[in-house]
């Protein structure tokens, strides 16, 4: 289905030197160029940098908490002065403040850190390039999407400074009735969430339309790079899973602001006072609506990561991905299944046999496509000529880390073994292995891999490797002990890390190890931050295709000009034609005619 109009475009090799071509570039002032830009690349970078800063912020919150967890009640004078007496009087953290930090860490990491970086950042910057599009289908909507995200972020941050009790304190899950009777920070949280939901709706519509409509001639779906497939599936998850949370948010807002009792059963007695509301509501309704979003959401956290890892592995093994088709089907199946497993977060809410059997079964089924994808990625290494570049190291690190996180999902997915493990640090360990050394590593791989495309310069390789090994070691020092804490029965969300419980005493030292892991992990990020900014100036200048890669983004100059390609590219073959027997170069780009 090649498009006749584009046949004219001359095939153009990967090694041509490129300066930024001004071909499509109309001159814009600073504001329209960098702040209110409608260029998908600028928006992508805005998303990515904001996301990274939020990751750093969410991390900092957690480093505070980790002190309280490792050394409960020990004062840190200067922090007390810094954060004020309503948070850390005399340098000792208040339980309210701990809960605040916990809830906001979760919210920020998921909704303001990883998703904006993975979908908003990489999706916006890479996806249109990888499908040979001049921009997103709706550039203005794209800009609005970022602005809604920004407003959501501001709302969330602002809530920390509310005099009446500060930010939300009921966990990122905001279970009512607790969230209903909580301080006004919860209202801000709900409003912030509505901004973020709007943002991702606008974004996901844009991604889907762009992918379907703006594909370069010759780029059939089965010639998509895995990353495009991942973003495509992810967008559907965002599009269809977020509205129910929006509904839930509206209902909780009504409960809090208008005094309805959707989530408030009759006869509540809060600290001796009979609750004023009419009652007749159902607290579990919230949990169903929340997890109907939040489970697909966790796959939103992982799929783009898997996509990035696939790209990097194909490029650094210099061979095609093994089982491309099975991966594509697995991604689609994963996306579909993720809508019918949500209640595996609710096994302990008093679930009957029928329901628990159904959700255990779907949960076991959904683990299979993940196994398929992981297996395909690992088998892709076999027979390769593996280069251990920085992006490759992070991509390789992802595999076993996601393996640990995924495997520990299995005992949680069976309602019976979930009894002792539910709401313990085992759960915390499980999902941090998938999101932190899992997704975060994948995102880091993506940053090192596409940085030259975005800036025209390489990141420093030595600092990169330093960053990887530091992160790899300390991520494990940080999260591995959580499994032992969890098996010992220590609950999550405990202000003192379990110190008040006798049965927890033998396990408490794990808290200390874990905390030092976290702080050392922060140190390990320093080379990255230096590298990230320094390379803008000092990084080695590169051409269009520094990695000798095959996918379309490498046909555009680095950095690509407004409008991306000098000649509308055309696609002649699948995404990973590396080491094709009988060719002089070991890679054959999609955009090369012969």
């Amino acid at each position: 289905m090649s498009d006749p109009t584009a046949v004219a475009s001359k095939p153009h090799g990967a090694h041509e030197a490129h300066g930024a071509h001004e071909a499509y570039h109309e001159e814009l002032g600073f504001w329209r160029k960098y702040v209110f830009s409608v260029d998908h690349k600028v928006i992508g970078i805005q998303y990515a940098v904001t996301g990274l800063l939020f990751l750093l912020f969410g991390f900092s919150l957690m480093m505070l908490m980790r002190w309280q967890l490792a050394y409960p009640g020990q004062a840190v004078g200067w922090l007390g002065k810094l954060l004020g007496d309503n948070r850390m009087p005399g340098g000792v953290m208040l339980p309210e403040f701990y809960n605040e930090l916990g809830a906001m860490h979760g919210t920020i990491m998921v909704f303001l850190g990883v998703v904006p970086l993975a979908v908003g950042g990489f999706g916006n910057f890479v996806l249109p390039l990888q499908i040979g599009a001049p921009d997103m289908a709706f550039p203005k909507i794209n800009m609005m999407s970022y602005q809604c995200y920004f407003l959501g972020g501001v709302t969330m941050l602002g809530s920390f400074f509310i005099p009446a009790g500060g930010a939300a304190q009921s966990g990122w899950t905001s279970y009512p009735p607790l969230a209903n009777i909580a301080g006004s920070g919860q209202t801000w949280w709900l409003i912030g969430m509505i901004f973020l939901i709007t943002s991702s709706l606008l974004g996901s519509i844009n991604f889907i339309v762009t992918t379907i409509q703006l594909r370069a001639p010759g780029l059939t779906f089965m010639r998509f790079p895995i990353f495009v497939w991942a973003q495509f599936v992810t967008s559907f998850l965002l599009l269809l899973a977020f509205p129910p949370l929006e509904a839930a948010g509206v209902l909780q807002l009504m409960d809090r602001v208008a005094g309805s009792s959707f989530f408030m059963p009759s006869g509540l007695v809060v600290s001796g006072q009979v609750a004023a509301n009419a009652g007749g509501g159902n607290p579990l309704l919230w949990q169903h609506l929340f997890w109907f979003l939040a489970h697909p959401e966790v796959y939103v956290l992982i799929l783009p990561g898997m996509g990035i890892v696939a790209e990097v592995i194909a490029n650094n093994t210099r061979k095609p991905l093994w089982g491309y088709r099975s991966m594509v089907y697995a991604l689609g199946f994963l996306g579909f299944m993720s809508f019918i497993v949500w209640a595996h977060h609710m096994f302990m809410t008093g679930m009957g046999t029928v329901m628990s059997t159904f959700f255990q079964t779907t949960t076991m089924i959904i683990s299979i496509p993940s196994v398929v994808i992981l297996t395909a990625l690992i088998l892709s290494l076999w027979g390769g000529s593996i280069r251990f570049t920085t992006p490759m190291l992070f991509a390789l690190g992802f595999l076993p880390m996601f393996g640990i996180g995924g495997l520990t999902g299995l005992p949680l997915g069976l309602s019976v073994t979930d009894i002792p493990l539910h709401d313990t640090y085992y759960v915390i360990g499980h999902f941090h292995y998938v999101v932190a050394p899992g997704t975060l590593f994948a995102l880091m791989a993506g940053i090192y891999y596409w940085y030259p495309k975005a800036t025209g310069r390489m990141m420093n390789d030595f600092l990169g490797k330093l960053h990887f090994w530091g992160s790899f070691v300390f991520m494990n020092v940080l999260f591995m002990p959580m499994f032992f804490l969890g098996l010992a029965g220590v609950s999550r969300r405990l202000y003192d890390g379990g110190a008040s419980y006798q049965f927890a005493q033998p396990a408490l030292h794990y808290n200390v190890i874990s905390s030092w892991g976290a702080w050392m992990l922060a140190v390990a990020q320093i080379p990255f931050i230096i590298n990230f900014f320094m390379s803008l100036k000092t990084g080695r200048k590169v051409g269009a295709n520094p990695w000798d890669a095959t996918t379309l983004e490498w046909a555009a100059p680095s950095p690509p000009p407004h409008g991306n390609f000098e000649h509308p590219p055309e696609v002649y073959r699948g995404p990973y034609e590396y080491s094709v027997p009988g060719r002089q170069t070991d890679f054959q780009p999609q955009f090369e005619r012969a």
Partner: protein
């Protein structure tokens, strides 16, 4: 099989099966991970650029991995239908007859556990929110109700006879709490508006446990598992498992106390 997991010392009948299953799963996970990991590391070593400068366009051609994946699926199916579902049915659908079990009502509130025994008549007295008094009557028990006369209410003190099934009827006054006794392998959210029954059979008395663990202060603890506010971390109850005789003795003394309080409780 589960020693290496350092689980809290097991102290109920149904718990053994849970632990076994947990052990089996973790061993299976370990096998998978080590298998995959070994292959992974070996591949990285064997196909590094210096050792294998030219990549092979086709890579793996065998179908072994497919069989492996089917293997994983089968293993999961076995765990699911062989262990998990039957155990869940046993735990949820087959509670002991009220006759041979002791029934207790446990009501969570920020941040304490109210324990309510029906007494010899086996009937829980009427409760009404307007009778609630934080100090003297946290559950709002209506002492004028004949069923309530022999009821016993304690704060954070759950006494249980050993080797006798217990049915705990879980409730909450305010927000969601999590009833959780690690040694019992029991965990269940207490959801306001619902009364959720769970049951188990303690097999080891606190005394025996003290010898077993070599910890003279040992007590079973109820550790709230669900975030319920700023006091969540200290919402701690205590369970004493004792012989039937000790239990009866304790219960009678509590009842005596209740009688006195009761007398002035219904004068107002």
């Amino acid at each position: 099989m589960t020693d290496w997991m350092n689980l809290p010392t097991l102290a109920t009948k149904h718990g053994a099966a849970i632990d076994t299953m947990n052990g089996v799963i973790h061993i299976l996970m370990a096998i998978l991970f080590v298998g995959w990991g070994a292959f992974f590391v070996y591949t990285l070593f064997r196909f590094r650029k210096s050792a294998h400068p030219v990549a092979d366009h086709h890579g793996v051609t065998s179908h072994t991995s497919t069989y492996l994946e089917i293997g994983v699926a089968v293993a999961e199916a076995v765990l699911l239908f062989g262990f998990s579902v039957p155990l869940w049915i046993k735990w949820v659908d087959k509670p002991p007859a009220v006759g041979e079990a002791l029934t207790v009502q446990v009501t969570g509130e920020q941040f304490a556990w109210n324990i309510h025994y029906p007494g010899p008549d086996g009937k829980f007295g009427r409760q009404s929110t307007d009778k609630i008094d934080m100090q003297t009557n946290p559950l709002g028990l209506d002492r004028s109700d004949p069923d309530a006369k022999d009821d016993v209410i304690t704060l954070n003190q759950l006494h249980l006879p050993v080797n006798k099934p217990v049915i705990v009827r879980l409730r909450s006054k305010d927000v969601i709490h999590g009833f959780n006794v690690p040694e019992f392998r029991v965990k269940q959210d207490a959801v306001p508006g619902l009364t959720i029954p769970i049951w188990f059979t303690p097999t080891i008395t606190t005394e025996e446990m003290r010898q077993k663990t070599g910890n003279p202060e040992f007590t079973y603890e109820i550790a709230c598992a669900q975030l319920c506010g700023l006091g969540h971390y200290r919402m701690r109850g205590f369970v004493t498992v004792e012989s039937q005789e000790e239990f009866t003795k304790w219960f009678d003394s509590e009842e005596a106390k209740a009688a006195e309080e009761g007398s002035d409780a219904w004068s107002n």
